[in-house]
């Protein structure tokens, strides 16, 4: 499988990374090199093989559903580029 210019632009939109027109061809070549490399997995017979979900034989540990941390909104927003009253500020999303 290989990707074309339109697919590169679509992936960029899905990944929320702006791809400028002049960059499309470069990305297309690089992505196709990588996709070409992983193509060899097609040789492997995986009939009846379970996909790995955990590399260690363990089930996900659970804890009680109680509040165990928090109460410091000023710390949560302390690294944000733009805040007001301990809220993250973003461009208007609702008209």
């Amino acid at each position: 499988m290989s990707v074309d210019a339109a697919t590169v632009k679509r992936i960029g939109r899905l990944a929320r990374i702006r791809i400028e027109e002049g960059e499309v061809e470069g990305y297309r070549n690089e992505l196709n090199a990588i996709l070409g490399f992983v193509e060899q997995l097609g040789e492997v017979n995986v009939d009846g093989v379970e996909p790995m979900t955990s590399v260690t034989p363990m089930s996900l540990r659970r804890r009680d559903d109680v509040i165990s941390d928090g109460g410091y909104p000023e710390k949560i927003v302390s690294n944000a580029p733009l805040t007001e009253d301990n809220f993250f500020m973003v461009p208007k999303v609702i008209e």
């Binding site: 499988m1 990707v3 697919t7 590169v8 992936i11 960029g12 939109r13 899905l14 990944a15 929320r16 990374i17 702006r18 791809i19 400028e20 990305y27 690089e30 992505l31 090199a33 990588i34 996709l35 490399f37 992983v38 193509e39 060899q40 997995l41 040789e43 492997v44 995986v46 093989v49 379970e50 996909p51 790995m52 979900t53 955990s54 590399v55 260690t56 363990m58 996900l60 540990r61 804890r63 410091y72 710390k75 949560i76 302390s78 690294n79 944000a80 580029p81 733009l82 993250f88 973003v90 461009p91 208007k92 999303v93």
Partner: protein
């Protein structure tokens, strides 16, 4: 007075306990060395002298009373991937500009609990994506090693290139590092240092910037096997804050170092004998086996039939997980923000400006393989191949193999700005061909310096162990370290 920075971590610890020198003196010596070397090597992206001297002073107060932890007063460097409270934590990326976490990673908390002193944050490939430390927003790390008769800059490997270079160049007594596909073992091999990637689940991932969560594992880089074992004992341990942390006792790894290899069976996988492998690497591998045999180990040929599929499967699984993990960098919660005409525009411009080329490439691959219509063909298939890779190792261990010996890297260090590697992303990915299988199977692996090439550059051997049997790797690694004779120090030019 002897140069305190040249002491091994173990000897420095003995000297501190014997009051031959103070933690303040030792820390001061390292800070001076960093100041002199960093303009040439670029190993540190942030140095924290005040904090270091405060921590050293606190250690001295304990040491003078004969108290203190296992690493009391030992100055260490921390890879920029570890969250350190109030201190530069940017994964060597532009997108995390100015980020200073409000929390401390579990691994670094463990080190401070045991008395270690933080010298600063170490350079790395951006978000740990790279094998040469050239993808860092802060510029490449220059290896302390140069080829004989040449002044050309070489890479220290990556992604933990700052950690490896700083340890090798005596800019810290030991360092933290992380390994997703080989990022501890490959730079260790290229710089004549010891790097241990523990079993997945041994060290907590909590507070470490995530790359590929099912593969990421923290571990130490140090100048000797014993030093690596001392650091590893402190860094390891169950952490309820990491859902994949394994609740298992942490042995005293240093106690296993001199255990020897008598009676152990060492597997030699035929699939690692690759076409075009340099003769000196093949020779080193055979030499390593002879050294282990001479100490009473039995060598056994084994087969790990799915070896060649580990790297292609990795380049589906790791980018897929990265594309998900790195979705959090959106210009809202931390770091860089580039304004746009609406919120989507802001996201796209921020991420385009904040991520480097290699990171963007991997996010795009990950986004593609997870997108509708391709998920089964790529991601599910790769996870099935991963099951087979793990089974290969299980079969070998079930057949009586205690550890597996392989080369650590397919070559010695290459030049900074190598054009062949820059032109072909897959060629650079091949650097991890011997190490990536270990991450895919969640196993422990250690790289130990074992020889040099014709140009005097270090070469490493890798030992792969059973899950949670790092002790055998330290013991076997020590046998190789001893037999190799131990002169893996760079000739100081900086």
């Amino acid at each position: 007075m002897t140069d305190l920075t040249k002491l091994s971590l173990a000897d420095a610890s003995k000297g501190l306990k014997a009051k031959s020198f103070t933690a303040t003196e030792l820390t001061g010596a390292y800070l001076k060395a960093i100041e002199a070397a960093n303009p040439s090597l670029n190993a540190y992206v942030a140095v924290t002298p005040e904090q270091a001297l405060d921590m050293a002073k606190a250690s001295d107060e304990k040491l003078v009373q004969g108290q203190g932890g296992a690493l009391e007063g030992i100055p260490v460097g921390i890879k920029d991937l570890f969250g350190t409270k109030g201190v530069h934590t940017q994964a060597a990326s532009h997108i995390l500009d100015g980020f200073k976490p409000e929390y401390e990673s579990t691994v670094t908390s463990n080190l401070w609990r045991d008395g270690a002193v933080m010298l600063g944050k170490l350079n790395m490939d951006e978000f740990a994506m790279g094998s040469s430390n050239e993808t860092s927003y802060y510029g490449p790390v220059v290896s302390p090693f140069r080829a004989e008769g040449s002044n050309a800059g070489l890479v220290p490997g990556g992604s933990s290139g700052g950690s490896a270079a700083a340890v090798s160049a005596w800019l810290c007594a030991g360092a933290t590092a992380t390994d997703t596909g080989g990022s501890i073992r490959q730079p260790a091999a290229l710089t004549g240092t010891v790097g241990m990637k523990p079993t997945y689940g041994r060290c907590s991932r909590w507070g470490v910037v995530a790359f590929a969560s099912s593969l990421d594992q923290a571990g130490p880089i140090a100048r000797t096997v014993e030093d690596a074992a001392l650091l590893m004992t402190s860094m390891s341990g169950f952490d309820p804050k990491d859902s994949t942390s394994v609740d298992i006792a942490v042995p005293d790894f240093a106690a296993a170092v001199e255990r020897g290899v008598k009676g152990l069976t060492i597997g030699v996988p035929r699939e690692y004998r690759m076409d075009g492998m340099p003769g000196e690497i093949e020779k080193l591998w055979s030499q390593g086996l002879e050294w282990l045999k001479a100490e009473g180990a039995v060598v056994k040929d084994i087969s790990l039939p799915h070896t060649k599929y580990a790297l292609p499967a990795y380049y589906i699984v790791a980018p897929a997980e990265a594309s998900s993990n790195l979705a959090r960098y959106d210009g809202v919660k931390y770091g860089l923000r580039v304004s746009g005409k609406d919120i989507t525009d802001m996201y796209e411009l921020t991420r385009a400006a904040g991520f480097g080329r290699e990171v963007k490439r991997r996010i795009m691959i990950g986004t593609y393989v997870l997108s509708a219509g391709y998920f089964d063909a790529y991601y599910v298939k790769a996870q099935k191949v991963r099951t087979l890779i793990k089974k290969d190792f299980e079969d070998a261990f079930n057949a009586g193999v205690d550890a597996i010996l392989t080369p650590a890297t397919p070559s010695t260090a290459f030049g900074i700005g190598d054009e062949t590697l820059a032109a072909d992303p897959v060629a650079m990915y091949m650097q991890d061909v011997f190490t990536v299988t270990v991450n895919m199977a969640g196993l422990p692996g250690i790289a130990v310096p074992a020889g040099k090439d014709a140009k005097g550059l270090p070469l490493g051997l890798q030992l792969i162990g059973k899950p949670f049997d790092e002790e055998t790797l330290f013991a076997a690694g020590r046998v190789i370290e001893k037999a190799a004779g131990g002169d893996f120090a760079p000739k100081q030019w900086w």
